[in-house]
Structures are given as structure tokens and as C-alpha cells.
């Protein structure tokens, strides 16, 4: 039995703004096991970025408001942890790669300083000189390779214990101090830049972010995220701003890194092709609901939710003389006035009366193996989806 690295249970997030309450996430549940890549795919405004930001609690509150749900990271519900402790889990616990690297790299610092900050932070946490998750100086064990295999190990990581040297020598001071020597910091930064296949990293170190191309910036972001050696990496549209050839290079790089550093990745993208290439499991979102979840091969080849099927069918693959593109009727519902029952019902060819009754369908197992983690769809007529054109 492998402990999931992340469990999201019934997560519901609203945005309360002047014009109403927008239900950005409704009852989203899924699990991630160590080393898995989970892709989240959906159209604009379906809540996939909200999900990615809600896990490390990066959502601005207000306007966002977590209505209910649990986000369990290594046995600790992040939503119940006091807000001031959350930075302790960011970086080394949960890393983020954002969509626009130029917005998340500081334009006034050189690349070296920004990557070094991440490395330094991880070192501090490794050595116990920085506050970790529950406040004690006991470090969160970030050494690799490592498996959180038992519940005991997971609990152990969070139990505040005094360092063994307690009482004998004064504990090392918290924080680096103004003149703290950093042996090998530059070397380690270089190592990470080489890891993300940056040519000539010595010169790149002294560049400012604006001097780099989009692909290079994205790689610097990836290097920063990886150098913190996070348990869980949330990649929010990491390649959407890149050209396809550069995107293919970055995706290849991420796949190679996956083999070298076993990190769980939550990979958010609107591009079904990218998800197919990068992810092991995929979750399909529609209007704030997770409507289908399962292994990529099964979801893409035998979708069990009419929305997934329609989404896959609307990808243009043919030529003009092969007939018009199949397109979904209607449009995405307004998140502040969702229809009762299943959110997809107004556009769904399979919809019956039962679909319009509250509450909507829960995600349930539809795959061949009776295991909730395997392949689930939130549809009353999941078996009928295969018969759709």
C-alpha cells in the first residue's frame, strides 16, 4: 500500500466578487501517488488553474474562498494549517512552475541569485536551520531517493523533535545570517542549470531574465523548482507560452528529469496533446467539476464522459474535404449560474431528466477494474458514451 503524496477531497472553491459568487471548483477529489504525473485538462475557465493554486494555498483570499474540502499533503491537511506556516511547505514541499516565466522571475535580479535562493532554502531546511513545516527545527526529510511508504514515515516527518544535539551545544542559528558562507552554492546552481540542458550555464548565470529567450526562461523556472527538490511539482501550463519545437524540447526535458528525479507532477494544460505526451493519469475538468479521471491511455481511447468525448472530437485532425469539424453545441455555462444537476447536461447528447436533478452525478468507477483510482467518470450514462459518434 503506497501512501498518496497528495489527496484532494471534495475541494470546493468560490470566487466572491461584486457580480456574484463564481463556483470555480466543485467537489473535486483525486489522489496522487509518489512519482506519478497527473495531468489536468480543460477549457479556459474550467477551474484547472484555481485547482493548481489552491493546493499550495496561493489563491488570493478574498476574492477566493475555500468552501469545503481537504488538501492532504503527507497526512497534513494544508487547509487547516495556519497561514503563516504555509511558506514552509512551498518550494521544498510543493514547487510551482507558472505559465509565464517572465512574470514569475524577478526582473531586477540575475539568474544566479534567483536559482541560488531556492538552493539555499532547501539547504537550510535540510540542515535544520530553517523553520520547517510544524515549527520545530527538525528537518523535513528531503533527501533522495526516498519513498514515503508507510503512514509512520509520513507522520514522523511532521513530528517536531528536538535535534540530537539539544542541551549539549547551542543549536545553529536560524536563517543564513548576513555573512553565512555558502560552500558549493554556485556549483550546485550550475549543476541544476546543466540538468535542464542549458548550454553554457556560466554565462547564463549572470544574465537577467529579460535577456533570455522564452524557452531558456522556462528552463530556469524548471531549474529553480527542481533545485528545491519538491515532493510535488505543480506545473501550471508550463509550455503554453512556448513555440511547438521549443515546447517539444521542454517536454522531452521534463520526461528525462522525471526519470532522474522522481517527483510527482501535477501537470495543468489546456492542450490535450501535451497532456497525452506528459501525463500518466489525466483529470478532465468542466465548469469547476472533475468529470473524468483515469490513465491517459484509457481516457483518451475510451472516454467515459460525453464532455471528454466531445473535447477529443473537436481537435481538428482532417482536411477540409473530409467534412466539417464536429463541434459541441452551446457554450460553457456561467460559473455563477450553473444549471442544476450535471453542468454539462445542456450541451450533452445523452442528457435525460435525471441529469438535471440536484445533486449532479458523482465521479464513479467505470473502468474494468473496480478501483476508484483507476478510471472514473461523473456521468449517469458513462456506459453509453462509447456509442456516441
Amino acid at each position: 500500500m503506497v501512501e498518496p503524496v497528495l489527496t484532494v477531497e471534495g475541494l470546493s472553491v468560490d470566487y466572491v466578487v461584486g457580480s456574484g459568487t463564481f463556483h470555480a471548483l466543485q467537489n473535486v477529489s483525486f489522489e496522487m501517488l509518489p512519482g506519478q504525473v497527473v495531468g489536468i485538462v480543460g477549457e479556459t475557465g474550467c477551474g484547472k488553474s484555481t485547482l493548481g493554486h489552491a493546493i499550495p494555498r496561493l489563491l488570493p483570499e478574498p476574492p477566493a474562498r475555500v468552501r469545503r474540502g481537504r488538501v492532504v499533503f503527507h497526512g497534513v491537511d494544508l487547509l487547516k494549517v495556519p497561514k503563516w506556516q504555509i511558506p514552509m511547505v512551498r518550494g521544498t514541499g510543493i514547487g510551482m512552475i507558472f505559465q509565464e516565466p517572465i512574470n514569475s522571475l524577478d526582473p531586477s535580479y540575475r539568474v544566479y541569485r534567483q536559482v541560488a535562493e531556492a538552493v539555499r532554502m532547501r539547504r537550510l531546511r535540510d540542515s535544520g536551520r530553517a523553520m520547517t513545516f510544524v515549527g520545530g527545527p527538525k528537518p523535513f526529510d528531503y533527501s533522495r531517493p526516498r519513498r514515503i511508504s508507510t503512514a509512520a514515515a509520513a507522520t514522523h516527518a511532521f513530528v517536531p523533535t528536538l535535534p540530537e544535539s539539544a542541551g549539549k551545544a547551542p543549536p545553529p542559528p536560524l536563517g543564513p545570517g548576513p555573512e553565512a558562507p555558502e560552500p558549493g552554492l554556485r556549483g550546485e546552481v550550475l549543476e541544476y542549470l546543466r540538468l535542464v540542458r542549458i548550454n553554457d550555464p556560466e554565462t547564463i548565470l549572470d544574465r537577467y531574465p529579460h535577456e533570455l529567450s522564452g524557452g531558456m526562461r522556462q528552463r530556469v523556472m524548471i531549474a529553480m523548482a527542481l533545485s528545491a527538490k519538491p515532493e510535488l511539482l505543480i506545473a501550471d501550463e508550463p509550455t503554453s507560452a512556448l513555440d511547438v519545437t521549443i515546447q517539444a524540447q521542454v517536454l522531452t526535458l521534463m520526461k528525462e528529469l522525471m526519470d532522474e528525479i522522481h517527483t510527482s507532477i501535477l501537470f495543468i494544460s489546456h492542450d490535450l496533446g501535451v497532456i497525452a505526451e506528459a501525463a500518466d493519469l489525466v483529470g478532465v475538468m468542466y465548469a469547476g467539476h472533475l468529470v473524468e479521471f483515469g490513465p491517459v491511455s484509457e481516457v483518451f481511447e475510451q472516454p467515459r464522459h460525453p464532455y471528454t468525448k466531445a473535447l477529443l472530437r473537436s481537435i481538428p485532425v482532417g482536411y477540409q474535404d473530409q467534412g466539417p469539424l464536429p463541434s459541441m453545441p452551446g457554450s460553457v455555462p456561467n460559473l455563477s449560474r450553473l444549471p442544476p444537476g450535471c453542468a454539462f447536461a445542456p450541451r450533452c447528447p445523452l442528457a435525460r431528466d435525471i441529469c438535471r436533478i440536484n445533486p449532479g452525478p458523482e465521479i464513479r468507477e467505470v473502468g474494468p477494474v473496480p478501483n476508484v483510482r483507476h478510471h472514473g467518470a461523473a456521468c449517469h450514462f458513462a456506459e453509453g458514451v462509447a456509442l456516441l459518434p
Binding site: 509518489p34 540542458r197 529567450s213 511547438v244 519545437t245 524540447q249 481538428p316 469539424l325
Partner: protein
């Protein structure tokens, strides 16, 4: 279809964006740098045809679209629309051009005025066209009258001068003399500047020599020989200036005297009396009759479009792009992404253009909305016969909409051909690399590796030779030195490729640029198989 004359022809169009040159570079004489956004592109679009222009960001495809729409002037090259060459000016030629070529901009939010309602946004195009037509209809008669009056004046003056040969000769002499004075002054100034530069150079060299031969640090000042040499140089320079100045004065005085003599001489010219009479009569006759009056065409002045008319025409146009007619009074921000794109499209199509430039029409949209827009575009083309230039990096959109495809890399076309030809049997290595990189929703492609590496080079200093050479897997030495021309490939009509090794690499499938991933040695307890429990 190949026989129809092209609607739009683009020949060797170049667009460089010069960068501001620093003071240091200007002093050193380093030529200004320029971004080579479009570097010699030739293509043609036939009526009713879609040409897909694929390329990555920075390949210059948007710039090319702007040059074709004449939103940017081309640095070189010619554009022809239905055989009519584009002129340089901003006059009626440009207006006619813009009436026939419309552009749908990349960013639907940025290109729609947020203060205008939907009918105003779309109606602006109608209003602008109406305004243009009214200006022409109202201004054309006045212009013809003005032209006529000027022609009469010119003719009168010519005939008067013919009556007075002395006056004509004097004017001509005067013109020559004035030009001569200016020319000589300029030559003199240039000579003096050259002299001064030589003098400064010589002094500089002398100073260098003095520094090099300085006996020791203790001694003060240069050696006596150097001082003497410098004084000699200065004296020579001043003497030469004075000599040239004196010569110039003498010369000017001489030429001035000659000019006056010639003027007196010319003033005495007379015509033979009968000739004089004939010419005077001609002049007087012209003064009486003038030129025949101009033909002023009757141009009906179109009425100024009323609010109601515009609203009605917009209302009629909305369903063609798939917008509900009751959204006339909404603001652009009230539309979804797809709705905004439809607004842009309606604005382009309402004046019935012949060519529509679609700049990334679906890049900001989700696949489901994209499918709706692409279907609409194809249907409109079939109904109304527009030609499209579809500029995008989205290969799937090009596959569906385009008839022919042009692939652009760093400002140059690398491959042109029919859509099936190019997308199914790409020849140029870049086209192959691009097609291999496109992610497809097929789970079997997981764990494949992309084998093209390297970054896109900068357009400030494009590499010599083929621009794809630094990333090309088939590169040979020749590619790095010799620019490959866009040439026809034997046996394939309507297919042009810019690659030295086109014939050799033609049959390489794009998928060969993908390597299957190394066998993954069971990295973690639960991989994609999901064996949990």
C-alpha cells in the same frame, strides 16, 4: 485552379526594423543594426484560396501579414493586388487596397475598442468606407477643376516666355549662375574640411610619435624636432587655407563679371518681327480662349450612413459569423473569447473584401470554440469566395482550412506547396521538425523524445547560410555557408523547398525526429499502470 491569375502577388518582400544606433557606434561608423523580420519572401494567393502561413513566433509571419495589409511599409520588394502594383503613398491607392484586403488581428481584446458597442465596432468599418467614398465623390470635381486651372496657367506662362526670348534667356542664365555659386561654395567647404581632417591626422600622428620617442618620464615637453615639425604643419595648413580662399575669391569675381556680360548680351535678343507677331498672337488668342473646359464626371455622393442603417447592416451581418443578432448593444468585454474573435471577423468581412488576413484567429481559443470558428471560416469562404491568408502556428487549423501551405522560418519561406503534400510528405527539415513537435492526443506517443535541440537564433544577426542549419539534424558544411534558394523540386509541381539536400532528405518521415524513450527501469512503485493497493 492553377490557371486563374493570382489575386495577390508578393515578390521579394523585405522588412527590416532598424534599431537605434548608439552614439559610440555612430562615431565609430558601425552601420545601424536591423531586425531582419522578413527577408525576401515571394508568394501568391489566388482568388478564393486559403494560403496557410505556418511558423513559430519570431519567424516574421505576422510582420509579413502587416506588410501585405500595408499597415507597415515594406523595406523592399513589390506587392501586387489583381495585377495593380502597390504605390508608396497614403492616397486613394492605399484606401482602395485596404478595402480589398482586411485583417483580423491576433489579439481580439486589444483590437476591439472597449468603449464601443458591438454595432459600433463592426459599423466603424462601414462608416470608414462610406466616409472614404463620400470624400472622393465630394472632392473629385474640385480636384479636376484645380488641375484644369493649373494646366491653363502653365500653358499661359509657356506662351508668354515664347514671346519674350530675352526674358527666357535671362532666367535660364540666372538659374545656372545661382546653382553654380552654390555648387562651388559646397566644393570649397568640402575641400577645407578634408584639409582640416588631414591636418588633425598629421598632428595626431606627431603626438603619437612624440609619446613613443619621449626620452624619459622626467623631461618635460616634446623634443625640439617635434615642436618644429608641428609648427611647420600648422604653418602649411594655414597657408594652404589662405591660398585656396584667395583663389576662390578671384574665381568668383571672374565668373560674376562673365555672368553680367552674358546677361546684357541675352537682354538684347530679339525675334524677327513676323515671328514675334505670330507668337504674340498665339499668346493673345490663348488668353482669350483658354483650354477646353474639363469634363467633370457626375459622381453620385453616397448618403452619410445613419445610425439606423449601420445598425441594420450590422444586424444582418452578425448571423454570418455565428453571433446572435441581439448582441448589437453589448460591449466587447461582455463577449467570450470566441465571441470577440467573431466580432473581429465580422468587422473584417462586412465591407466584402477579396482577401482576409487571419492572424492567429484561434490561438487564444479552446479547441471546442476553435472548431466552431474554423467551420465558420470555411463555410464563409465557400459562400462568398474570400481568399484567406491564415497566419498561425497551429498546424491542425492550417490542415483543416488551408489549400496551400507556406512554412516560414526566421523571415524566409522554407517550403511551399499543397496542404496534403506539405503536411503528409514534408521535405524541408524544419517542416519535419515542426510537424514532429506538434503534440497529438495519442497516449502511445508518451515517452517519446524530441531530437531537435538548440535555440532559435536571433534575427539581429541571422547566421550565414541556411538559417535552420544550427538546429538541423541533416546539416552539411555547405548549409553553413551557402544560402539555399527556394527552388522547385523535380517531379513535384507547385512545390518549392529551400534546402540543399531536399532530394536526399525528402523521404525521411518526421517521426524519425522522435526517438522512443529509453526503457524506463520501473522508476517508482506506481507508474501509469495505477497498480495501487
Amino acid at each position: 485552379m492553377t490557371d486563374t491569375p493570382p489575386l495577390l502577388e508578393v515578390e521579394n518582400v523585405v522588412k527590416h526594423f532598424p534599431l537605434p544606433r548608439g552614439l559610440v557606434d555612430a562615431v565609430r561608423g558601425i552601420p545601424p543594426k536591423a531586425v531582419h523580420a522578413v527577408d525576401g519572401v515571394s508568394l501568391a494567393i489566388r482568388p478564393g484560396e486559403t494560403l496557410g502561413l505556418i511558423g513559430e513566433s519570431g519567424s516574421g509571419k505576422t510582420t509579413l501579414g502587416w506588410v501585405i495589409a500595408r499597415l507597415l511599409p515594406a523595406s523592399a520588394g513589390t506587392l501586387r493586388l489583381s495585377g495593380v502594383e502597390a504605390d508608396e503613398g497614403q492616397g486613394p491607392g492605399l484606401l482602395a487596397w485596404r478595402r480589398q484586403i482586411r485583417i483580423v488581428f491576433q489579439d481580439p481584446v486589444g483590437s476591439l475598442d472597449p468603449r464601443l458597442r458591438a454595432w459600433q465596432v463592426i459599423g466603424e468599418a462601414l462608416q470608414a468606407q462610406n466616409h472614404m467614398e463620400r470624400q472622393f465623390a465630394l472632392g473629385e470635381p474640385a480636384r479636376i477643376v484645380r488641375e484644369h486651372r493649373n494646366a491653363v496657367r502653365r500653358e499661359e506662362q509657356r506662351l508668354w516666355l515664347a514671346c519674350h526670348p530675352a526674358e527666357e534667356a535671362k532666367r535660364s542664365l540666372m538659374r545656372d549662375y545661382r546653382a553654380g555659386v552654390e555648387q562651388r561654395a559646397k566644393a570649397f567647404e568640402e575641400g577645407r574640411a578634408r584639409l582640416e581632417a588631414d591636418y588633425r591626422d598629421a598632428v595626431g600622428r606627431l603626438r603619437e610619435r612624440a609619446r613613443a620617442t619621449a626620452p624619459s618620464k622626467g623631461s618635460r615637453g616634446p623634443s625640439p624636432e617635434i615642436v618644429a615639425e608641428r609648427e611647420r604643419l600648422t604653418r602649411d595648413y594655414r597657408l594652404e587655407i589662405a591660398r585656396r580662399d584667395a583663389t576662390r575669391r578671384q574665381e568668383e569675381a571672374r565668373i560674376g563679371l562673365e555672368f553680367r556680360a552674358a546677361l546684357l548680351q541675352a537682354g538684347r535678343q530679339r525675334l524677327p518681327p513676323d515671328e514675334q507677331k505670330r507668337r504674340t498672337d498665339a499668346y493673345r488668342a490663348f488668353r482669350k480662349q483658354g483650354l477646353p473646359p474639363p469634363v467633370i464626371p457626375r459622381i453620385p455622393v453616397p448618403r452619410r450612413l445613419s445610425r439606423g442603417v449601420i445598425r441594420r447592416r450590422v444586424w444582418e451581418a452578425l448571423p454570418t459569423v455565428g453571433l446572435p443578432p441581439d448582441c448589437l448593444d453589448q460591449y466587447p468585454h461582455e463577449f467570450s473569447g470566441g465571441g470577440r474573435q467573431r466580432l473581429s471577423l465580422a468587422r473584417a468581412l462586412i465591407v466584402n473584401p477579396r482577401l482576409v488576413i487571419l492572424d492567429e484567429p484561434t490561438s487564444a481559443l479552446d479547441v471546442a470554440v476553435q472548431a466552431q470558428i474554423l467551420n465558420r471560416l470555411v463555410a464563409l469562404q465557400k459562400e462568398r469566395g474570400f481568399a484567406y491568408l491564415l497566419i498561425t502556428h497551429n498546424v491542425a487549423a492550417v490542415r483543416y482550412v488551408a489549400h496551400r501551405v507556406a512554412v516560414m522560418y526566421l523571415g524566409q519561406l522554407v517550403e511551399v506547396g499543397g496542404v496534403r503534400d506539405v503536411l503528409e510528405r514534408p521535405i524541408h527539415p524544419y517542416t519535419k521538425a515542426l510537424l514532429a513537435a506538434v503534440p497529438v492526443p495519442d497516449a502511445r506517443r508518451r515517452r517519446t523524445r524530441y531530437r531537435i535541440t538548440g535555440e532559435i537564433p536571433t534575427l539581429l544577426r541571422p547566421p550565414p547560410g541556411c538559417r535552420f542549419a544550427p538546429r538541423c539534424p541533416f546539416v552539411i558544411d555547405r548549409c553553413r555557408t551557402e544560402d539555399p534558394p527556394l527552388r522547385e523540386i523535380s517531379g513535384r509541381a507547385d512545390r518549392r523547398v529551400a534546402c540543399h539536400r531536399a532530394e536526399e532528405v525528402a523521404d525521411v518521415a518526421p517521426d524519425l525526429l522522435l526517438a522512443p524513450g529509453a526503457p524506463v527501469p520501473s522508476p517508482h512503485p506506481s507508474s501509469s499502470t495505477g497498480t495501487a493497493g
